[in-house]
Amino acid sequence: MMKFVSSMMIGAIFGLGIAISGMANPAKVLNFFDLFGTWDPSLAFVMGGALITTLIGYRIVFGRQNKPAYAQMFHVPERADIDRRLVLGSAGFGVGWGIAGFCPGGAIPALGLGYSQTFVFVGAMIAGIILARFANMRLQRTAIAL
């Protein structure tokens, strides 16, 4: 129960941060990318603030704790190789982000603002994840068959 409540509280801090930072506002996100038009550099401050806080905070956590408070171990990705999937997938994400102005972390908290456009985007994004998961299963099956 504490695990559930603490997760919800942390999610709330995340969602509040997204909302007040401007990341939940597609107009602001798109303007950050529009260097040669209506440029709004605000998002650099969001990324900077989040990154510096996490950089320092992770060091404190990994330095002081052997394991998380409510879990057996830290789940941290170990891979270091930069493969084609990572690069092409990320390029795709960037294109979609530039078209719609929403990223997943911006769109989910934006649902709480209650605008219909967010629901359209999130629905399409979830459909995209399901589609990719299905395509990935097919790819793996083909690879095994070969």
Partner: protein, 142 residues
């Protein structure tokens, strides 16, 4: 065409809150605060540890609602058309699945761990977004 106000203080403060959430999630659950990973785990077939993910998502959605209900203002405007939202949403979904993360997972948590994969992913998706907006707004005039 859609001017937005430069908000360095609120954006920095919001960013610090996002970072704080990432640090707390690692300290308490031992997890990366990446929206792609958290969301994918609650799309059927459910991940075995779906409950903390669902809790995080519920918190992330209700917090902005409470903030607005309490009198806070959150600027919101969506310049793209419905078609663009659907196309963009589909591409984002496929992209983050194959790219194993998005702005929160790679851009914040992965970069903070100095992960080479996350640094590469972040550079690639940021460049792709800049190029996409340049093409749609200045070459295609959308």
């Amino acid at each position: 065409m859609f001017e937005t106000e430069f908000t360095p203080v609120m954006s920095l403060f919001g960013g610090i809150l996002i970072g704080l959430a990432a640090v707390l999630l690692m300290s308490i659950q031992g997890r990366i605060a990446g929206m792609t990973g958290i969301l994918t785990g609650i799309i059927p077939p459910l991940a075995s540890d779906w409950s903390w993910r669902a809790a995080f998502l519920i918190g992330a959605i209700i917090a902005p609602a409470i903030f607005v209900a309490a009198g806070g203002t959150v600027e919101f405007a969506v310049p793209p058309t419905t078609i663009a939202l659907i196309v963009g949403g589909l591409i984002v979904g496929v992209g983050v699945y194959f790219g194993s993360g998005c702005t929160s997972g790679h851009g914040v948590c992965g970069m903070a761990r100095l992960s080479p994969r996350s640094i590469a992913a972040t550079v690639v998706f940021m460049i792709a977004s800049f190029v996409t907006v340049f093409v749609t707004r200045h070459l295609l005039g959308m």
